[in-house]
């Protein structure tokens, strides 16, 4: 590609001809995090502690100390996060190829199903129906599952009940199929986790994690504004923090959307 084309892209972004959509929730202590049974280790919650704010602790400057787990807020999952991807080369956020951080996306709208059933599952027939309309999912594309889950209040968003979370996600067959038959680069959701709330009971458990990371692919979760993306053609920029041997990271996810 010519340098001139890149400049054209920059100009289009600047003029608004290419829209930049922020797919990220604000990283804050209030945002729900994954809840594991208490006997397991827990993600440190997001904490923002002031170092100084133009005061005696630092008269001219404002800054904070941050603590958070790798999997808090809108975040990225690297292959090393799951046992299936533990032995792959370049499987952590600091060693993954930077070119994987920019890729096109197919957005599948599951919002109608999720509105009716919090345990709504994306299936192969549903994706095939999507393909009939929008064409075959190309290799190395993100598949983003829109559920409008990000528009809910936090309580309904986490939707925890006595038997765990009830939130939509993919079933096992569609994850295996998307990875093996379509060669997707990753899978993204609006919910906490790439997997459905009840995915611990699936075969295999947590199939999105299992198949994606086992094949060196990535996950994005806690996304928002997916309703502002076209079914095809958006470019996702998702570059996690370069944490040494990191399994994931909160990050700013943006989408570039051309004129329709």
């Amino acid at each position: 590609m010519q340098g001139k084309n890149l400049l054209e892209l920059a100009g289009a972004i600047s003029s608004g001809a290419v829209r930049v959509v922020d797919l990220t929730f604000t990283l804050s202590p209030d945002f729900p995090v994954i809840v594991l049974p208490p006997e397991f280790g827990q993600a440190a919650p997001v904490r923002i502690q002031e170092i100084s704010r133009y005061d005696g602790r630092g008269p001219a400057w404002y800054w904070n100390n941050l603590t958070f787990g790798e999997h808090t807020g809108t975040h990225f999952d690297a292959p090393i996060h799951w046992f299936t991807g533990k032995d792959l080369p370049n499987n952590s956020v600091d060693t993954m190829p930077p070119k994987d951080m920019i890729a096109p996306a197919c957005v599948i709208d599951g919002s109608a199903g999720a509105a009716q059933d919090p345990d709504f599952l994306l299936t192969v027939p549903l994706v095939e129906a999507w393909e009939a309309k929008h064409g075959r999912i190309p290799e190395r594309h993100w598949v983003l599952l829109r559920t409008d889950w990000s528009k809910k209040g936090w309580r309904d968003y986490a939707n925890l009940r006595d038997d765990g979370a009830h939130t939509p996600g993919p079933n096992a067959a569609v994850m295996k199929w998307l990875v093996e038959e379509r060669g997707i680069i990753g899978f993204g959701t609006e919910t906490i986790g790439t997997d459905a709330g009840q995915a611990g009971h699936f075969e295999p458990p947590y199939p999105a994690h299992h198949f994606l990371h086992g094949a060196g692919r990535y996950g994005l979760q806690c996304l928002c504004n997916l309703d502002q993306l076209p079914a095809t053609g958006a470019i996702i920029v998702a570059s996690p923090l370069k944490i040494q041997n990191g399994s994931g990271s909160p990050l700013r996810v943006i989408a570039l959307v051309g004129a329709s």
């Binding site: 827990q42 440190a44 904490r47």
Partner: protein, 370 residues
């Protein structure tokens, strides 16, 4: 407690070097019979001390104790000259022990006496913040404080998006206000204090984070860090958010702030290796509580520490009885506040640890390691 001569049995007051009856030097402090009679009473109308001048008129009197000495005491309004009274030492607003005389029998609304309330932190009519309503102790504390006549009980709930057992007991109840509070988060504590910091009369810190294990059976510092975040840093966040306003409001008319309550493990006093890191986090909180007490004292706000052994909750499931019922902890909070106490030991285990620590700390250390 008064001095009693070990030789002749005479009680002495004020404190002396030698027995006024037989000159023996053996004067030990013992629990003295509390009954006496009010000899004479007077009312100070323009006291010289600023504190009492604001609260004038103030009644004091001379009480002849049945066990001998005559004492100057603050008087309950229902005390009558010549009638029998019950004496106790109470901690006044400055933290000094002072003699207080109450009528021997119950009188109507006895606990509502103005001078008595100055010496105590009775939750009746007061607004209380219970910091953690997710725990069973927190929920029992809310119920007990409400039953004791608290005007409003604010109940902190962290991560309100997470449902929890007993939630329906708190939400939508008259006089109970559920508020968002994650004590381990500085901003959460500050935000809540901005809303209600000016009307918390009593703060009950029910932070509870119990995990088994000491040093060698754990991997890494994640759990220890959680313990410190929840218990120790949570304490600091609460103190920094609510402490300054409470100290300022220590003499804010009839709705003044009165007390801060901590629920601590008795293993703050002596490490229990089975819960060794938890014990250490509690020891840190105990030390902090003494600092808080000193810092709140200028405002006349009391700090009460309530020590318990293992409580009958999930994280002590593997511990054999005796265990303290959460309800007993809640009742102790109320009775401690009513008495204006600084320290309470709830349950047999806590009391036993206290006694054994006083008798032989090294023996206790060795025994706890079984």
């Amino acid at each position: 407690m008064l001095q009693r001569c070990e030789a002749c049995g005479a009680f002495a007051y004020p404190a002396r070097e030698a027995c006024p009856a037989c000159l023996s030097a053996g004067l030990a402090f013992v629990d003295a019979p509390r009954r006496g009679a009010l000899l004479a009473e007077t009312t100070a109308r323009v006291p010289s001390d600023v504190y009492f001048r604001e609260r004038a008129p103030w009644r004091i009197g001379l009480v002849k104790m049945d066990c001998g000495p005559t004492m100057v005491a603050h008087l309950h309004a229902d005390c009558v000259e010549g009638a029998p009274v019950l004496m106790s030492f109470q901690l006044d607003k400055s933290g000094q022990a002072v003699a207080f005389a109450r009528p021997e029998g119950e009188t109507p609304n006895m606990a509502d006496d103005r001078q008595w309330r100055e010496m105590t932190a009775d939750p009746k009519f007061r607004r209380v913040l219970v910091t953690n309503g997710r725990s069973v102790i927190g929920q029992e504390a809310v119920a007990a404080l409400k039953a004791a006549g608290a005007k409003t009980v604010f109940v902190g709930v962290a991560e309100p998006w997470r449902p929890f057992g007993g939630e329906q007991l708190l939400r939508g109840q008259q006089g109970i206000e559920v508020v968002t509070l994650d004590a381990s988060d500085e901003k959460s504590a500050t935000d809540l204090a901005a809303d209600i910091g000016g009307k918390v009369d009593i703060l009950v810190n029910t932070t509870e984070y119990v995990r088994p294990g000491g040093l060698l059976d754990r991997r890494g510092t994640s759990t220890a860090r959680d313990e410190i975040d929840q218990a120790y840093l949570g304490f600091i966040n609460l103190a920094q958010a609510f402490g300054p306003a409470m100290r300022m409001r220590g003499a804010d008319g009839t709705n003044s702030s009165a007390a801060w309550v901590n629920i601590l493990s008795v293993y703050a006093l002596a490490n229990w290796p089975a819960f060794g890191a938890y014990s250490a986090s509690q020891a840190a909180c105990l030390s902090l509580s003494h600092c808080l007490r000193a810092e709140l004292r200028p405002g006349g706000v009391k700090v009460m520490n309530l020590f318990t052994g293992p409580v009958d909750t999930e994280w002590f499931q593997t511990v054999p009885p005796p265990k303290v019922a959460p309800r007993a902890v809640a009742q102790a909070i109320v009775s401690g506040l009513r008495g204006g106490l600084e320290e309470m030991y709830v349950g047999d285990v806590a009391e036993e640890i206290r006694q054994r620590l006083a008798a032989n700390p090294k023996a206790l250390e060795r025994e706890l390691d079984k």
